[in-house]
């Protein structure tokens, strides 16, 4: 592999690593937000009854 290939590989790893982590955080964030809203809704309904 020539120098350009190594530079490309390093770039690919850095950005893939960062984007994977960002997407993982976004996914977790979305899931928890949904769970929290659902739980609050259930909680409020229980209290109203």
């Amino acid at each position: 592999m020539n120098q350009l290939g190594y530079l490309f590989a390093a770039n690919a790893f850095v950005w893939a690593g960062i984007f994977l982590y960002v997407f993982r955080l976004m996914k977790r964030n979305r899931e928890l937000k949904k769970d929290l809203e659902l739980l609050k809704e259930t909680f409020n309904k229980t209290i109203e009854k």
Binding site: L7, F13, M26, K40
Partner: protein, 233 residues
Amino acid sequence: MNSEDKTPPDGGGYGLFWFNCIALAAAISAIFIYVPTEKTEGIIQRIMYYHVPSAWVAFLAFFVVFICSILFLWKKEREWDIYAHASAEVGIVFCSLVLITGPIWAKPIWGAWWVWDARLTSTLILWLIYVAYLMLRIQTEQDSMRARYAAVVGIVGFLDIPVIHFSVLWWRTFHPSPKVISQEGLGKGMDPSMLATLLISLSAFTLLYFLLMGQRVRIEKMKDEIDRLKKER
């Protein structure tokens, strides 16, 4: 009567996100357009503009773990444990990038992906310590014990960072000696355009750290809120 709304605010917000996008775009432009190619190493040297900022952010993240762990043990407030946990995770991401970009640079320059050199080995140890930190958090079931054990590991683990920094001065190593903080003075060992590119990249990665930290802290706070609501039910 409604349940009290304790949803944590957006970690960082869109302002920081867009500012970070601009900073990262500036860093990429500087790395590939602005900075001249280094004479001896060639274009492969450009990896340094990712490698050094990743190492800096990893050290910053583990320093935050260290400070927050001390504050947790002292004040026993959950808030500090959340910050330490979030920072350790972000730190591991950047420390992994250091351990990936380093060997990619080393292969064409040294002729080997990895050598058991003092700096490389101590960095690998740092990565293992904080992976153990996260594993400990997963494995320990009791909340109070988990936070306390993790804080101790977070403090002890940080002691490896001065060893990493001074390893190139204390021992004969393959790793290049510091160029930014050199004996000639701050930034004196580098070409001004290379120093400027490195500083742009360092700033962009530091901003990225704060953005990721904000999101990670938000996740942890939402988990706490879910647990609180489940207990109240």
